[in-house]
Symmetry: C2
Subunit: 434 residues, 2 copies
């Protein structure tokens, strides 16, 4: 439980009462013992916290985990990932999404913002496995107007799906792959239909520099000029956000958030990370993310939380910045806001959705507990999540997945990998030259 | 299995035959099936690799995990850690070491280089729990000659202890807490008795700058001038090693190694990390470490391996540098060398000690496997270690610890914490002003 000011609060001997998918009360264990209940979970020695939110990923890319290692961004896209993605089928996406959801549920992730292709398959997996998701069908301008139309059609058809667990976005890929006219049309559609937008922008400093050199505008300027800053906009990465972009973001009339996936920035050797402190100063929430597993190698948001704390201290040269409580605030309140669910998620409090994880702190690596926030951020690991609950439904109990069959998915996906990985055709879905 | 040139090799369907604490053969599963064996471990779906080595830690400091968060180095030492350590008893050290060994065995660490006080207690824990360790009794010059004498007496008495699982070092704290005469005497004792030395040096750039400003010499110059570079020397951290130090290290006649614990450097917001590439270029091995849990929050060497890869790519601005195979080379061959056991550990090969871990790759977060080295370094986590074996003895089987009782240790340690944490006395064991 926490408020808006990084004052994360903890209660001892608490009991969480859940009814109809929402938290009904947070009370004492003693008081709860007297209530009738259909099911009780004894979580002594564990901490209940809001489920983690993966604010930017491409879940099905787990199929490509480890295929494009130790490469600069451009080669990663042009030589490996975009050629492989030209083979992608709906079945590959479905299997990848099933594997990804299994990984995320086991890591305590209850909601993910996905930005990919063949998203009907992802929506079906989300419906079946019980997770919450914020889904957008990605498009490039190279697809013609059909790309944008398909993204809109997807967003309207799936909005409120899976019993309300699915929210949707429009999902233009990035300012370097979607032209200004398409971005402006997307902004207009977003406002017309009350839809948010999820986009990659200023992913790294090269993109900002290239945009400035070619067009005299940063990618954030492009978002402003095309009206996207008037929408509820989730910007992925933003490590290339420059000082001059900050007042532009601050003046935005839409609700802007940034998703940060720091592991990949280190791995690609990008010169910057997301400017979390500058965004904090202008009131832009920063949610935690993993990006896809083809770059990040995992969908471990818990690791993103720890890395955010460590990398922020290091890049700011300030050990007092990004305390464990701040990291938990990013992981909960700010991540919930980033996916447009700031009133529904992010806290364990009456009326909020019952998206809850139980984290075991009895292991030797999390003892003794002198500072619970530090224990959670810097000592605990995603594997310490014992139980994952979404909308009051238990998706993992004592580390056993209840809604997904991993060996079956791995087997079926394995049979499809040779066709998926084939690059002999020389095609790619897009060219990276940002 | 691997050679000296970062060409880490993997064998499929392999079987490791262990006899009398050593690897007798690496053969095929089919061939091994025909052999008589006292015990067989079926590890299908798992990878056998050399146990991890924690090349620099202060194991008993797990008792202080989380007590000194988000502080600059100087305040961390002077306001919290060194005042608390003035309360330290042998019993605290014993309990901390038991908890630390439990944590390390569960994380796949089979050997650790410890540098602390009341080390008889640590040696007794190592003997009882079955780990391998490289132990040194730390001393400051403020203790007078007794500090150095005690360090020597410890090293001679415990050398070859625990059935050969204990090796020992002399352990002067650092050039900023041990004077030149004491360092020179230590070097002489090391050569006289055939003992290695384990010391903190050039931990960060401030220390190098301060040493230069006060004495006109870097801490590495001090090691050279006092003869320590003529001994087998394990240098902890070395993030302040300057370019001018490299030829000095290259000319050393002793076997020099550096232990790197990158998590703490990020957390303290030090401006540099260990210069792994420069050390590679002059042939100095870099072993992986965690430092103590009071700064690092965990003894998770697996995380150090992943962070070393990520931080090296980032600080070098080169995504091709420090590949997963290089990271595994640091974790195995180079770490074994760093603790003076380059001929005994670091590979699964006939004649080597049977310090082996079994890592489960069937989890959704480690599937599919396109690149086994990348899967191990960037997707797997310490919690994927199922089985930990030292000298052929199983210390953890299917994540169950067989030689340590964690709840008992936590309970007993918890009772002692109020006395241990008391800082009302205003004492500290040392003053940090490096």
């Amino acid at each position: 439980m926490h408020d808006d000011h990084e004052r994360i609060g903890f209660e001892e001997d608490a009991a969480v009462v859940v009814r109809d998918g929402r938290v009904e009360a947070v009370t004492s264990a003693a008081e709860a013992a007297g209530r009738a209940a259909r099911e009780r979970i004894d979580a002594r020695g564990q901490v209940a916290m809001p489920g983690l939110v993966n604010c930017h990923t491409h879940a099905p890319m787990v199929a490509l985990r480890g295929v494009a290692e130790d490469l600069p961004t451009e080669e990663w896209f042009n030589d490996v990932v975009w050629p492989i993605e030209s083979n992608l089928t709906g079945k590959d996406v479905e299997l990848g999404a099933r594997l990804a959801c299994a990984e995320m549920i086991r890591a305590g992730v209850t909601c993910f913002a996905d930005h990919y292709f063949a998203m009907d398959a992802v929506a079906a997996v989300v419906d079946a496995c019980g997770m919450r998701a914020h889904l957008g069908e990605a498009f490039f301008s190279s697809q013609g107007p059909q790309g944008r139309e398909k993204s809109l059609e997807f967003a309207l058809r799936h909005r409120g799906g899976a019993g309300g667990r699915i929210t949707t976005t429009l999902a233009p890929h990035a300012p370097y792959t979607v032209d200004d006219a398409d971005l402006a049309a997307t902004a207009a559609l977003a406002l017309e239909h009350g839809l948010p937008v999820h986009i990659h922008a200023s992913e790294n400093r090269d993109q900002a520099d290239t945009s400035l050199a070619r067009h005299g505008r940063t990618p954030i300027d492009v978002l402003a000029a095309t009206g996207l800053l008037d929408t509820d906009l989730l910007i992925a990465h933003g490590t290339g956000i420059l000082d001059r972009d900050l007042p532009v973001l601050e003046r935005a009339t839409g609700r802007i958030a940034v998703a940060s996936a720091p592991r990949g920035y280190l791995k690609f050797a990008w010169p910057d990370t997301t400017p979390v402190r500058a965004l904090y100063d202008i009131g832009v929430p920063v949610g935690l993310a993993t990006d896809g597993a083809a770059s990040n190698n995992s969908l471990d948001v818990w690791e993103s939380m720890a890395l955010t704390a460590l990398v922020q201290k290091s890049t700011q040269g300030d050990p007092r910045w990004l305390t464990s409580r701040q990291a938990l605030h990013h992981a909960t309140v700010q991540s919930a806001r980033a996916v447009g669910l700031g009133e529904e998620l992010g806290r364990i409090a009456p009326g909020r959705r019952a998206d809850i994880i139980l984290v075991d702190l009895t292991g030797p690596h999390t003892q003794p507990v002198h500072d619970l926030a530090a224990t959670l951020v810097h000592s605990a690991r995603s594997a310490d999540v014992r139980t994952t609950i979404v909308d009051g439904r238990i998706l993992m109990r004592d580390r056993e997945l209840l809604t997904l069959d991993v060996p079956a998915v791995v087997r079926e996906l394995g049979e499809r990998l040779p066709a998926l990985l084939d690059r002999s055709h020389g095609r790619r879905i897009q060219q990276y030259d940002a």
